[in-house]
Amino acid sequence: MLERSHIQSTGFHNIGPVGARTGFEVRIRQPNYRSSRLSLIEGVDLVIDGVEYPAEQSRIRVGDREYTHAEMAEETVARLYVGTFFTVIVPKEGGLAPGVHHVASSIRFRHPYFPPQFQPVFVRDARHATIILP
């Protein structure tokens, strides 16, 4: 089972070699009531301690597979299932400092059954989350 908040505690960590981190990752619960073709997700924007990490610069991992922003937009078969998470992979030299951070996420959903003027829908959440290892 996943945490109710979109942003998950576990899975928030730096990536790359210790001492030469290349970025960080955040796990996000698929929060919509139905599963979603990846092409219906127009991006996931993050704001960490006030610093913006726009969707266009990140990659998304679903299961074992990674997608660039452009690849997501054309992926009409693979889905983000309800009850699962996806991982946002953010490049950032040195990674994030160990300690507690304020993390905000905004998922841009396109719901084809919503009128065109309401596209995309921004589904947001925010919380504190902790980086353990430098």
């Binding site: 084809p112 919503f114 003027q117």
Partner: protein
Amino acid sequence: MTGILTKRECNALSAFKYGVSLYSYTEDLGTVMSLEDAFDHVAGTGSTGIEILGETSIPTYPEPTSAWLDNWFALLDRYRLEPTNMAAWVDTRITIGRNMSAQEGTAQIAQDLRLAHRLGFKFLRPKFGVIDGDLTPDPIWEPAVERNLDLAQQLDIVILPEIHSPTPIRHPVTDAYIAFIERTGTKNFGLMIDTGIFQDRPLNKWGGGETDEIRKGALSFLNGIKVPVEHLVDVIKYVPFIQAKFHHIDETLHDHHIPWDRIIPMLKKLGYAGYLSSEYEGARDPWVSIEQVRRQHALIRKLEAEYDAAHGGNLHA
């Protein structure tokens, strides 16, 4: 009430069937509730039917694993529930720059019909993308459905578009569905009523996962479109299934938005004998949905019993 009953009065004493859509447990599913837990909660209401959202309930949709299928049938058996409706989507605006063709829409519905049939469902509700602020469905709906009518007949499934707020009963969208039924003469297409169209008091919370942007833009929608229950008379013959949408029922069994005290007598009077399948769409704090669905069942059963008592007793008990 004594004496010989008229035909309408006889119909009026047919009983509702009670069910729950797993949509009710949105957000609880996957965070605090498994599929098996959901079966337990549905069965615990005294329901006989369970409604799922295909792509939500089946973790490898569109192709369930054989283990999942074994578990599905074991759960139906253990909890004595029958599959009612499977909800599906036709994502017409499939990428940001491209719409589904009629052929793709046809394939989507054929896939969902076959899946629904494998799982034992009798109804399939496809939700089509829309093309305007009036929620006019993408025109591919008509060929995509029509090319599947033979398959639906073979599989004994009725395809049901949902009459859902802000689209009322008396509306060109509904008229187009009825014209389609009349033109094709099909028995495998009908209307599903979502009781949200009868909402007559404003919502202050909304469980659909929508946000401020939607809320501001669709304010009148959230106030309720207040379809008069009498409009059911126009369409009831096309309606084999009802989603009992609601948002909040308090400890006195008072529903804050949906006028069940008018809906239930009208459905009884019209002889509706299909499912009322709970669709809770209120506050999404963990576990609230379980209790809210139970309150709705207590409320509707009470209103049905009162109607029966006032109209010659419950002949179907």
